[in-house]
Symmetry: C2
Subunit: 266 residues, 2 copies
């Protein structure tokens, strides 16, 4: 009988980020591997900014490591380590999954948008025709904006503390999806249907709201991409206002199957 | 409840080698971690010779990776990656376990000899006063020779296909243990009590015996350090001659607790 976890023949997958202890992917993927009967493991890999490139080179050099997930803050900078950038990754300019191809090259693609869509749909929400407030124009925010526009969102406002980032993203989404009304603007959510936090603010104890969102109407759907804590400051505030909420675990679950297919395990 | 294996907070340990699929340490250590209630994982890491240094640099740079086991063929060359070489490792010139110290430096030591001794003692054999034939003067062979002499073996013959290696090792052990009669010589085991294979020959299908050992008397104790297959060609031959045998798993088990202590987990 195969050992419960990891023998010499186990194929290794890792998730690279900083911080790392909060990530849900190891638990989610190891349970999937178990269910699928795969001798594979997903392990957390804490790469600090000063050694990220060294870590990535080392990980890619391991012959039994077949795939790497990438999370905050490396979804953009990891592109330097991707040999072949696949379409969604290229369009968004960010990557959250890399795999070794049969020829030894590493390809990378972005699954955050697909995962977020899977999460809100599993929560009964279809973004088609809706007005949406998105906080955060980084790697995850870019992927989510792209996926929402692709899914037919009518109106998308993007806020980032660095206004140049939100403006650049708004222009990019407008160009690829001219039917969606996209703008960079303040984070107040009056008249919006959906509010999304795609920043890391809320991950660390003592964090507040990711932006000044103003009062929240009870009909608003509020989503946070942070997988831990379950109840971020934004989710707590939204619940106190009577809003329906979704935590970051739903996004992880929403993209797990797509990534397993990308890894050739499904 | 803690997930069955690996969440974001799991501390990572790895075993580096080439090949890697046959190693027993992941199964042995993961079972130990489970029993001890430690949120830790031991994973196999396949580093090929051309990228070993890149792999080591990358692994050491990961902030949640606390220790590295090293197996064939890197027990000597890994010393270049050790900041502080501990006494047994320095004496033997080989290392099979590295740990990150509180100050961020990596120290390394050699536990193979201790593990082998633990294994034969668990099999009811005390090497004190015995005449021993050791095949293989690499990292593991050096550690085993040192430990056997330390434990009072009376007579030790070392064979290696590269005679310069067996001669060098014989001189080194003679210097550190003048009471043990040590020589480099052919692998025939007439009049010996114990025969040990400390080479990788027998690991790969199609391998034969590690050397021309001549006929084996039924009273001989025959040990192989290869953990998989369970029955190496040498073990099979020895059993057919009526000898008592010990496989490489006994050596892994024999050193697990010493390494867990080194890793600060016991």
């Amino acid at each position: 009988m195969r050992p419960q976890f990891a023998d010499g023949a186990t194929r290794i997958f890792g998730i690279v980020g900083d911080p790392i202890a909060q990530v849900k992917s190891p638990a989610v993927f190891n349970e999937k591997f178990r269910t699928l009967g795969k001798n594979a493991a997903m392990i957390p890999l804490h790469a600090t900014p000063g050694s990220f490139d060294t870590s990535m080179r080392g990980l890619k050099s391991l012959a039994n490591l077949d795939g790497i997930l990438v999370t905050f803050p490396y979804k953009n900078s990891v592109i330097a380590h991707v040999d072949d950038l696949l379409p969604a990754g290229k369009r968004i300019g960010a990557v959250n999954a890399l795999r070794r191809e049969a020829n030894g090259r590493w390809s990378g693609d972005m699954f955050d948008g697909q995962g977020f869509l899977g999460g809100i749909r599993a929560n009964g929400l279809d973004p088609k025709g809706l007005a949406i407030m998105l906080i955060g124009a980084g790697g995850a925010g870019s992927a989510i904006a792209d996926a929402l526009a692709e899914a037919g969102a009518a109106d998308l406002t993007i806020f980032d503390r660095r206004e140049d980032k939100s403006r650049t993203l708004a222009i990019k989404v407008t160009q690829s999806h001219p039917d969606c009304r996209v703008r960079s603007g303040p984070a107040t959510v009056a008249c919006k249907h959906v509010l999304i936090n795609a920043t890391p603010t809320g991950m660390v104890a003592g964090d507040g709201l990711p932006a000044d969102v103003g009062p929240l109407a009870p009909g608003l759907f509020v989503a946070d991409i942070i997988p831990r804590p379950d109840i971020t400051p934004l989710i707590a505030f939204a619940r106190s206002c009577g809003c329906k909420t979704m935590g970051g675990q739903a996004m992880v679950a929403g993209q797990a199957d797509a990534i397993l297919q990308f890894f050739g395990l499904l």
